[in-house]
Amino acid sequence: MREERSFICVSCPLGCGLNVIIEDGEVTYVSGNSCPRGAAYAKTEVKDPRRVFASTVRVTGGKLPVCPIRSKTPAPKGKLSEIAKAVAALNVKAPIKIGQVLIHNVCGTDVDIVASRDLN
């Protein structure tokens, strides 16, 4: 089966318009990219689309009531709303250090949720 898809590369601010040919579920041709990251993005976007998830968690005893978090690595796109709920249920005690793991292996994705700032 042969399929053509077009989407925007989100790897960098250039935002190249990618044209991808998929044959039997495999990306066989990528055009429109200006760098190798674009070709790599096209392949993961077709087979296993992922995004970095960024949100906040509730904090007790901090200078701010919430602390920003991120998925340390890109998480499966289809799992983002589940991850959002897991993060929303969390309450963390200050002080928090940047990079501190707040949820290990969130929703069984093998991805860690980490704090993205120091908060005293």
């Binding site: 925007i8 250039l14 970095v52 959002a84």
Partner: protein, 420 residues
């Protein structure tokens, strides 16, 4: 009386922190950054999404992570920060800087040089004159971003976003992730204000409709926002009769542009450019007052924080040179002019003292092969397209200026490639 300050920097956002590092690296002894907030980092602390620093660090960081690295560098370099400190006046003739702080009281500082790094503000509702009522529930996108990401409040449950600047696009996704509904994004122009990748990853990913050439024509609601009327506009941006549609919503977020924040610069008598809204600067980032430098979004609104940090480093270094008496009052002053398709650009003068980048935006998009140029014959770079939402750069070599001592003026432009 406080110690002698060599370089005083106003604002500890990305430009100010970088300016501090730049000044220390250039050898300035006492470098002080003033910040009105309790924390360092400026607006980046509320930009919790990834996408920052790809050029600088070769990886995509969130705003707080990006600032964490720069703040650590600044501390290491010996930059002094004073938080909770508001500058309320700069005297025109003496350059005295008046500050206010709860513990230190009112102080008058007399630095050898100043770097303005106050950043920018969002265009508010009052700037676009929408008919209707003025109920609660209308915020600039950045205000909503601060509520959600730093103060832990949700502005509402069903949002309409007017304008397609990057902060609006980012907030569309953020509202979805926090469980709200986003009815759509409306942009009066026929092209998006923000980056294409943000349309892809913030709107397309979540099926949020994006309407070009459409705007909000009326606001409804007595106490709380109850909805807006949207309508398509014609080429003169006049709403087209018969296209009006009522959209129920409790929140309207505005992402309709950013304005450099220059109250202090004006107070100090610094010349402000009528189009950029920022100080007129040369490539040393020196303003019309030779002891005052400026960098970042206070000068011209950039797309990328990497550029803001780069400019901060340059302004800080040059302010340190000035404080040490190392910048001649007789540097060259070659004016830069914008060509036909250039809406704004900065710097406005080139000295030829070092290699420099002129940042610019086109007035109209060119979808197809084009080139960015600097005449006479100083720079040509081919582009696949040029869009108002994405800045272009012109790189001028100091050696090229030196080789052409008769240059009276530099013209920058973006032109379509002519097919032969």
């Amino acid at each position: 009386m406080s110690k002698n300050i060599d370089v005083l920097i106003i604002g500890a956002g990305p430009a100010g922190v970088a300016a501090g590092i730049g000044a220390k690296k250039e050898g300035a002894e006492n470098v002080v950054v003033l910040e009105r907030d309790w924390d360092l980092g400026g607006i980046l602390q509320q930009c919790i999404h990834p996408g920052f620093g790809l050029r600088t660090f070769r990886e995509e960081l969130t705003g707080p992570e990006y600032m964490h690295r720069f703040i650590a560098q600044a501390h290491e370099a010996g930059v002094e920060f004073r938080t909770n400190t508001m500058v309320f006046q700069i005297d025109k003739d003496t350059n005295a800087v008046w500050t206010m702080n709860k513990e230190r009281g009112i102080e008058c500082l007399n630095p050898k040089s100043i770097v303005l790094t106050m950043g920018c503000r969002e265009r508010p509702l009052g700037a676009i004159r929408i008919p209707g009522t003025r109920p609660a529930g209308i915020y600039t996108a950045g205000t909503a971003q601060r509520f959600v990401n730093m103060e832990g409040y949700m502005p509402g449950k069903r949002a309409v976003i007017l304008g397609s600047g990057d902060i609006g696009l980012i907030m569309a996704r953020r509202m979805i992730w926090e469980g709200a509904e986003v009815e759509g994004v409306y942009e009066v122009m026929s092209w998006p204000g923000g980056l294409r990748r943000n349309i892809a990853q913030c709107l397309d990913d979540y099926g949020i409709p994006f309407h070009l050439k459409t705007t909000v024509t009326k606001i409804h609601g007595a106490d709380r926002l109850e909805g807006v009327t949207v309508a398509q506009v014609d080429d003169k941006m006049t709403p087209i009769k018969g296209t009006e549609r009522f959209v129920p919503c409790d929140t309207l977020l505005l992402a309709i542009g950013l304005i450099p924040e220059n109250e202090l610069s004006r107070m100090a008598g610094i010349e402000i450019h009528p189009v950029t809204g920022g100080p007129v600067v040369n490539d040393l980032l020196q303003t019309s007052n030779p002891s005052v430098f400026a960098a970042g979004n206070v000068v011209i609104v950039y797309d990328l924080v990497d550029n803001v940090s780069d400019e901060g480093l340059i302004a800080g270094a040059n302010a340190a040179k000035y404080a040490a008496g190392k910048i001649s009052p007789n540097v060259k002053r070659i004016p830069v002019k914008g060509g036909e398709n250039v809406r704004l650009f900065s710097p406005q003068f080139v000295t030829g003292e070092s290699d420099t980048i002129i940042y610019m935006r086109v007035t109209h998009p060119i979808e197809g092969a084009c080139k960015v140029i600097a005449e006479p014959g100083l720079y040509t770079q081919k582009l696949r397209y040029a869009r108002p939402g994405e800045m272009n750069e012109v790189r001028i070599k100091a050696s090229a200026i030196e080789a052409n001592p008769d240059i009276k003026e530099i013209t920058v432009d973006v032109q379509p490639e002519v097919k032969r």
